[in-house]
């Protein structure tokens, strides 16, 4: 029971963006994709979501290839939350979240009871029930993020892949979002999330996959992955460390000290 990507290589515009990268995500697990800008995090996420066909390598779902799985059942298995998140300003929040039910509906069929329940549940999870009737264009940035996340949750897929879901959120909503991701993983969803904040990544992810310039540098528990050498080599920083109530924090403090 897993999504398995093996030896994924991707070239974009003649430049290698991913080279021989392996990744795996299991149900009930939160995997954080971390790495500096341009490391290939978004590309790997898009390959896992089958939005991009890799030049080499393959992605399997429980041993079945994407072709065997088919477009429809893939859409019910993997929910994708795009970075930034485009949404028509005049559409109502409820209608927008309802679009997450399209993979479950026969073309042109009306929304059924299960669809309505899923939309209501997603809105509740994201604390968005209060503005379900409003137009997307009238929401604040934080509300908009929650609604787009609710759209992805409405798919009720066993896997959720989220590309920088914290970008542009205030600290409170960052924590809320990650707690929500933890909660759905506790209910069995496999979550892959691209993150930049190392403390949040260490606190909320079961496992981290560190990418740098298209290569997999490390894959393991946050403590293993985020050691001082890697922070220096990959991110070019040194960080202050500590722990609070048994949870580690990593505070990027300065550029890597010049050596040699």
């Amino acid at each position: 029971m897993a999504i398995t990507a093996s030896e994924i290589s991707v070239m974009l515009g003649g430049r290698p963006v991913l080279q021989q990268v392996d990744a795996q995500i299991s149900p009930g697990e939160v995997l954080g994709l971390i790495g500096p800008n341009g490391a290939g995090k978004t590309t790997l996420l898009r390959v896992l979501a089958a939005l991009l066909t890799p030049d080499q390598g393959r992605v399997d779902h429980d041993g079945a290839s994407l072709r065997e799985l088919g477009r429809g059942s893939l859409a019910r298995r993997v929910a994708f939350l795009a970075q930034g998140g485009e949404a028509p300003a005049s559409l109502s929040v409820e209608a927008l979240v309802g679009l997450g039910r399209l993979p479950h509906r026969r073309p042109f069929a009306r929304a059924g009871e299960a669809d309505r329940r899923a939309v209501a549940r997603a809105l509740t999870l994201c604390d968005a029930t209060g503005f379900a009737a409003r137009a997307v264009g009238t929401l604040s940035g934080g509300e908009r993020h929650r609604v787009l996340l609710a759209r992805a949750l409405a798919v009720e897929a066993p896997y959720l892949l989220a590309d920088e879901p914290l970008a542009g959120l205030d600290p409170q909503h960052q924590l809320d979002t990650l707690q929500l991701l933890r909660r759905i993983s506790g209910e069995g969803t496999g979550v892959v999330v691209v993150l930049h904040d190392l403390t949040l990544a260490a606190r909320f992810c079961d496992r981290l996959l560190l990418l740098d310039r298209g290569q997999r540098i490390a894959d393991g528990s946050p403590v293993e992955v985020l050691d001082d050498n890697r922070l220096a080599e990959v991110f070019g920083i040194h960080a202050l460390r500590g722990s609070h109530a048994g949870e580690p924090f990593i505070l990027p403090w300065g550029r890597k000290l010049a050596r040699s």
């Binding site: 477009r71 949404a87 028509p88 005049s90 209608a95 679009l99 399209l102 264009g137």
Partner: protein
């Protein structure tokens, strides 16, 4: 900043209302003409199989005009909604991918070559041929997995080329009379068409409508962006192919038989969008009916207006359409910013 997500009209009731309006306008269109006519008597004669003069006027002149008005309007309205949905741009219209200009050029070529003098349906056939050639070129240019920008650029290229070729035909026209006739044809009109025009364009238009209508759920998903739409299980290459093919069939036939009728495909989707809860999928059929309403109304208008020879339809739809755009600009400025 008021909540205005939905105006609370059920989709089925909206479509029924629009369809009723199309039927009513088609009936008015049958009743309006240059010769005074006892319409009831004419229809009774026609139904009884009597070829009286009033019956012939209704069947040979007015019925094709009303039917073509509805068919052409439906095609333009629906294709406008389809293109705005596909390109996610409110300025898109059926002509944006270059099919209409190519159809117009095909008809002009049939006209110019003198084919239209020997063959009654040469103009529409030439138009349809032009649309087909343009569609093939478009698909070759796009290949698989082309982006929206590529599609727009290919459309601009096709539009420029077909426009230039049409101007060349005008430039080289043998006499001023021929030039005038081509220019008038390009302005668009439903006058003097026959039932054979209707039968010619009905099959490709129906096929085009079905292709476009089949994309409704995918267009809804596409409003969230290409990656999200693909993650919801929609094949974007196939979606694009259906929309281009559908637009080519419906709009290519429309232009081939009536000339260029502008603004319908641009304005109608804008007017109806709030009534369908801003769902691009639901907008398709509603815009079709809206387009039929606008074209029928404009065609009734040109016959009622005391201007002879009657104004060209494309001129009137643009005159009606442009002010709507002005109000739209006003509304958008208040809403979105």
């Amino acid at each position: 900043m008021t909540p205005h997500a939905s105006l609370g009209i059920r989709p089925a009731s909206l479509l029924s209302l629009l369809a009723l309006a199309v039927l009513a306008l088609a009936a008015v269109s049958l009743a309006v003409g240059y010769a005074p006519l006892a319409l009831g008597q004419a229809v009774a004669d026609w139904l009884a199989g009597q070829k009286s003069l009033p019956a012939l006027v209704v069947y040979e002149l007015r019925l094709p005009r009303a039917l073509l008005g509805a068919l052409v309007g439906f095609s333009l309205g629906m294709a406008g909604a389809a293109m705005q949905g596909l390109l996610r741009n409110p300025l898109a219209e059926p002509g944006v991918i270059g099919i209409s200009s190519a159809a117009a050029f095909g008809a002009v070529l049939a006209f110019y070559s003198g084919l239209s003098a020997s063959l009654a349906l040469a103009l529409p056939l030439g138009g349809i041929a032009g649309a087909l050639v343009a569609t093939v070129i478009l698909f070759i240019l796009l290949g698989r997995g082309a982006s929206t920008t590529t599609l727009i650029l290919a459309g601009v290229a096709l539009n420029s080329f077909a426009g230039a070729a049409t101007s060349l035909a005008l430039n080289l026209a043998p006499n001023p009379y021929a030039t005038l006739e081509i220019v008038f044809w390009l302005m668009g009109s439903l006058a003097d068409r026959s039932m054979s025009h209707v039968w010619l364009v009905l099959p490709p238009m129906l096929a085009g409508w079905l292709l476009m209508a089949s994309t409704a759920p995918a267009l809804d998903a596409l409003s969230l962006g290409e990656d999200t739409a693909a993650s919801l299980g929609f094949d974007l290459v196939w979606l694009r192919a259906r929309l281009i093919g559908g637009t080519a069939l419906a709009v290519g036939s429309a232009v081939a038989v009536t000339g260029a009728i502008g603004f319908v495909g641009l304005v109608v989707p804008h007017l109806l969008r709030p009534l369908v809860g801003h769902r691009p999928g639901r907008l398709l059929v509603a815009s079709g009916f809206g387009g039929a309403i606008l074209v029928l109304a404009a065609d009734i208008g040109v016959r009622i207006m005391p201007v002879r020879p009657e104004l060209k339809l494309g001129v009137v739809t643009a005159l009606i359409g442009a002010p709507f755009l002005f109000t739209l600009v006003q509304r958008l400025r208040r809403e979105v910013l």
